[in-house]
Assembly symmetry: C2
Homo-oligomer: 216 residues x 2
């Protein structure tokens, strides 16, 4: 009972950090490391042991005091928490430069996410194959996403199309969008949107760079 | 005096949000909107008016109660705060699929960030031109970055090379790295690293998707 109640107040950042812990654990697993302490695992991450323990505590305790965390068991637990213990098909909308780059990006499979279908509004691109995925004309987007019951989309279209296409995606059943277009989408509250915003990251790097150098 | 002191405790997330405000303000500016309230601007963003006012308050007050914010003036103020009121040259390391996609990505210029040079360890790529940038062999990386006094790098190399190359970058004067490789870099504390991690964003989307559907 307590766990269900807790889940509603888990900070978004804690969930993001779980994804980072998962990746670090998978890396440790590939290195054949069986047990890890919160000190050791946070060395690889931009966080501290206390934060790691706190984040895990939202979901129950997984480590043993003085013993550490079993790497394989914690991988399974975090995958269960995140829902990445099963493969999720995703649709990619917009097979431009960034879109086709993502078709070949290996990082998604680490989270059991698989680009299953891709669309572009440029007819000359339809039929071309990138990383095993055939680009389909965007006219078939709604029908195919509905038929394949895909819930997650990567949106890599130009900014001016992003709002309209995201509304179409919601109509055909998409519930979560990873938006790479440099605009904020206005969608119903039950649609989950994450924004990958490289420029803002750079903006904050510039800030820290400037701030540092002007105060040293 | 108070401002300088304050700057040391400004949360990282506030700085990231400043970048989002800046983009929204630039969009409003293109729409010829002169004045905006905190209610209006946060409609376009995933935040609330109180957060917007709080974030700006770290740097002094810019709005007038009941009047709102002058769009152009606030753009200039935020650019000054972030340090994006001048052009920063950046170096791209790794002209693979993601790297070359980024060479054509327009989002950087919104923050006055300009990819000035690009390197790849594949000799067959050297000399090829993407988006006006000629790919240079990586053997010239240290020399050219030092000569051009570039401080910011985009790292789009395969995971296994990321740590070694980032150390080389630091040696030749790079102070800030936007890391796209799915590994955590271990560098001196005065080097600013931001991680663009698409998979983790998707991981948290999956969590919210799963959590939502299993509780409805």
């Amino acid at each position: 009972m307590g766990r269900k109640k807790n889940k509603d107040i888990i900070p978004h950042e804690a969930i993001r950090r779980l994804s980072l812990y998962l990746r670090a654990l998978k890396w440790l697993s590939r290195k054949k490391i069986k047990v890890v302490s919160s000190d050791e695992i946070t060395k690889y991450l931009n966080t501290i042991p206390a934060q790691f323990r706190k984040d895990l505590s939202y979901f129950g305790g997984f480590g043993k005091r003085g013993v550490g965390y079993n790497v394989e068991a914690l991988i399974r637990e975090i995958e269960k928490i995140l829902g990445t213990n099963m493969v999720w098909d995703i649709a990619l909308i917009g097979a431009g430069k960034l879109g086709t780059a993502l078709l070949g990006y290996a990082g998604f499979m680490e989270f059991n996410l698989k680009i299953a279908i891709a669309f572009d509004n440029d007819r000359s691109k339809a039929g071309r194959v990138f990383g095993n995925i055939r680009i389909e004309p965007i006219s078939r987007m709604k029908k195919e996403i509905r038929e394949k019951k895909i819930k997650i989309a990567l949106l890599t279209v130009p900014a001016q199309y992003a709002q309209k296409i995201s509304e179409d995606l919601v109509q055909c059943g998409i519930k979560a969008i990873l938006n790479f277009a440099p605009v904020n989408l206005h969608l119903a509250n039950d649609i989950h949107v994450a924004h990958v915003d490289m420029a803002s990251e750079l903006g904050s790097l510039v800030y820290r760079l400037k701030h540092k150098s002007s105060h040293k």
